[in-house]
């Protein structure tokens, strides 16, 4: 379906925004600043209204005023108290609201973080070793994990056996960071490719509409 002129005009604006931001690669300039500042305003405005409809209306207005769930008043009041942070005299009151928020979030976090990051990860490491290439690889992985953990153990000097393990650990970590860098390149380039494809598609459809 051929795009309308209105669609082409809007997409043209998007293309100009794209090129304006790319111009920063040459040097900072007013076109880049305009695009960036417009983006800040638009994204803040979008999120404000999204928060209003999906947050305030759905979780505050409708439950209290339409469903009569008055117990929601308490968290609403606490949320409003958070705003007192802006008042130099009454800012201390906002700590009460923050305390509930931090206490509940932290209390939920601790057992689950321990389970996810420690128990289940250690459980994944303590498994029977098969007598095959998979078993060899698993043994190497276990050694890598232990040596990498030893590298972060600073209560004893890294000498002797501990020194050897620590050195093995840092080399293992470097392989991990190298793998991360290699995949990061792919990720960053993907974003650039998407922009290039957008510009290409736009100029092709613009040319098609003119010709």
């Amino acid at each position: 379906m051929d795009p309308t002129w209105t669609t082409l005009a809007w997409q043209g604006f998007a293309a100009l925004i794209t090129l304006a931001i790319f111009s920063f690669l040459f040097s900072d300039n007013p076109f880049y600043k305009f695009a960036e500042r417009l983006w800040v305003g638009v994204s803040t405005g979008y999120w404000t209204m999204l928060l209003y409809h999906q947050g305030f209306r759905d979780k505050v207005w409708l439950p209290i005023l339409e469903r009569g769930e008055w117990y929601y008043i308490f968290p609403v009041l606490l949320g409003i108290i958070m705003w007192l942070r802006l008042s130099p005299k009454l800012a201390w009151l906002s700590r009460y609201a923050l305390a509930f928020f931090v206490g509940i979030s932290t209390g939920v976090f601790i057992p689950l973080a321990f389970k996810t990051s420690v128990f289940l990860q250690v459980e994944g490491t303590i498994r029977p070793v098969e007598g095959s290439w998979a078993g060899v690889n698993f043994t190497l992985a276990i050694l890598g994990i232990i040596c990498s953990l030893v590298y972060f153990f600073f209560s004893k000097p890294h000498k002797g056996l501990l020194g050897v393990m620590s050195k093995t650990g840092i080399y293992t970590l470097m392989i991990g960071f190298g793998a991360g860098f290699g995949l990061t390149v792919m990720g960053r380039v993907a974003l650039l490719v998407q922009r290039v494809l957008f510009l290409r598609d736009y100029f092709v459809s613009l040319w098609g509409s003119i010709v």
């Binding site: 417009l38 305003g41 700590r95 206490g103 990051s117 994990i145």
Partner: protein, 210 residues
Amino acid sequence: MKLQIPIFIVFITGIIMIVQFFIPHEVSEFVFTYANDFVIVVGIMALPLGIYSLMKNTASKARREKGSEAFFALVTIAGFLIMVAGGLSRDNFTNPESILALMFQNVLVPAQSTLFSMLAFYIASAAYRAFRIRTWLATVLLVTAFVIMLRIVPLPEPLATWNGELVRWILSVPNMAAKRAIIIGVGLGAVAYSMKIILGIERGYMGGDR
């Protein structure tokens, strides 16, 4: 009292939520459900604080500054007001012809995508100007990155198969080992820090003592 009572609240609520995790009773589940619901609502009411601070700073910049800085501050405010006006009706979020949707598709999406896509250029620059085999450690890092990146490039057989197998081994053995050690270390550190918050040892999140 301005600090002690909030710290006490953190302690009590934190301990309740930790203990609740280990009690599979319906009262415990009710406490958990209500506490989560509670926190969502507190957060929803508090989030606009950040938006207010940003727009207040931008407005004062528009008043205070001269020339181009004032103009760019007004651009930010204009973008914000257009989206607020456009988003007053919930239907505009799903109407592709609305000003809200058009600004989202043709300003927010291209701007945010492009800002992050510039990193591709910086990573190319970093690969050329900073990535040096100064030490054995740097060499290991560079060779690993080289092998991983080579996977994208079509190679003749059997190089393609060998490289594919090598990448598979790197990701699932040494990379997995390194990242697991980091996960365990960071996990223990995060839990320790959280315990310090609950016990009132860590109070930075409360702000200055006023």
